[in-house]
């Protein structure tokens, strides 16, 4: 019954596969990438396809998860953003975007699926209108 996909960005392949499996089992469709640059290319090609962003904060040598969210929000200001954080959660109050959530590792997967569903419901057009 869904439409579009969730953009998931994580540079550690094993964790990315685990998140993909858990999100799909919960009922979400996902598109997975291992760098901010690859995610941005896919997003720019079809921005209306992506319903939410789940991103690790540290993403190797290129752009960070902070950068990624700040580049996506001008195109889709209502897009839900969930940051997954190892030790970077402490920077969220100054580096995060508004109406985002940060989930610190270690975490339980239902924290991600519940945060995602809640943020998607909060940005329903009718509810915010």
């Amino acid at each position: 019954m869904g439409g579009g996909t969730i953009l998931v960005v994580e540079d550690e392949t094993l964790i990315l596969m685990e998140m993909e499996a858990a999100l799909e089992e919960a009922g979400f469709a996902v598109s997975c990438f291992t760098s901010a640059e690859a995610a941005l290319s896919a997003f720019d090609a079809a921005p209306e396809t992506f319903k939410a962003l789940i991103t690790d904060i540290r993403l190797g040598p290129g752009k960070s998860g902070w950068d990624l969210a700040r580049e996506i929000r001008p195109v889709n200001p209502a897009m839900p953003v969930i940051y997954i954080s190892g030790d970077s959660a402490v920077h969220w109050p100054s580096e995060g975007v508004p109406n985002s959530v940060v989930i610190a590792k270690p975490f339980f997967m239902p924290q991600v699926t519940t945060a995602l569903a809640t943020l998607l419901n909060d940005q329903q057009p009718g509810e915010n209108a």
Copy 2:
């Protein structure tokens, strides 16, 4: 461990079956109907059985989902209401009831189960007292 059921109303049989399956897999008990009139008959016969209402807004020639919620709430003012909407979400600010949620199609099923669980928890007697 549950008691009672969730009242689910949707006039498209295939979508109704998909919602029934997803809600039951999540752990809810459901009672499904394809019209507001049939749902109201069941509700009036045993109102205390039903713990929440999930309803499509457009329900064919008879009463709408807006009507249905307005007829149920006087009997159970705290009953959670979730509207499923194709293109009617824009009317929610004037046609919806308070403390309801509207979920626009297309959506992911965890949006419905999370909204349902959250609304049920919010109306716990102890929490609101």
Copy 3:
């Protein structure tokens, strides 16, 4: 620093004057009416002027406060609505509109000014986007 006014509707003149005085002292500009019909005429003439609606529920022989809110919301779906209620609060779950507040008499005036400021802030375009 404000712009526009708050639409206040109450059929008891003494209470209306007291609310007008308290809202203006708090820093709001208000436009006061003693019937739903008079308020609707003013609203229809310049809907963009009015930033929020505060209305008694029982308004004499004509339209009620419930009716008034349902007629205004299609024009301005985000308009904050505060119902002032004598003994009608019990009907709010079925008669009210979403994202509204009901304040039961007797009440303290800061309840109205705080609810009004909070609802106005919640509908800021940037915050919900």
Copy 4:
């Protein structure tokens, strides 16, 4: 337009007078006491008179503000509670009651009036029903 009063308990007379003045200027009616025991006597004599409790946590040799709130809530489970705290806020997660607020000294008076108005609005019967 109000009815009933706010129960304010503080053992330092100068602070109590300052709170009384600020709450009354904001539009609340208040009943002030310098000990939990005196406040409980007044409350037990006419519990329906009191609409909310604002209490210092440390109240001299007798009962504390924690005790006071736990004795009042069984009689009025929905009564808003605001604790004013010097250095005791750290004990709130284990000693406070649900749906209460703790405000740490030093604070600005609008924090108290806004918290009070917000809690009173949250316990409106219609809104929680």
Copy 5:
């Protein structure tokens, strides 16, 4: 991807096993006990292991769920607490701790998993900072 476990306390073994199964299927790791005393022994031995508390209120002859939460919160003030209640929800406003949830029997299991995930997300260090 998780770390630590959820402390689950329930004196009826069949219900405890059902909750254990449902929580593990949702993706949580759990540690189950049939009395408050046994749960406290495990908690005191390694408090940092436990991420949240789910407890029945009536727990046989010893300490109650109310007692258990009040003893754990001073050690971990941010620990999410969910009370499962038969007929004791009415005492929550005076006996519960702040930032807790009470879920009354009968309930649907997704109410517990959603409340748990939501409370865990709310106490993320970054989010509250």
Copy 6:
């Protein structure tokens, strides 16, 4: 009863004076500046003095209100931030910091005082712990 002051930054002197007067009348102590640079100098000299930031977004040739909040939050991650916006509210979803509020001109002064009091109460140590 307060301690410390609210940092208010606005490059239009007349508006700054009006905000200063309204905030002080409400019961807040304020420190006013006409540029981000001047505000930062004062903040860096005594960061613990400042309890919240209210800032216009456009501040002339130097740093913007967006920049100012991002430089202050690493020092005080819990500091409430209110942006006052002419036509820049649309950039808040990508340029704002988490847990901030944007208030668009024109506005009523109680919107600012209520948002400020609410944010200050939300960051009380006890409540978030």
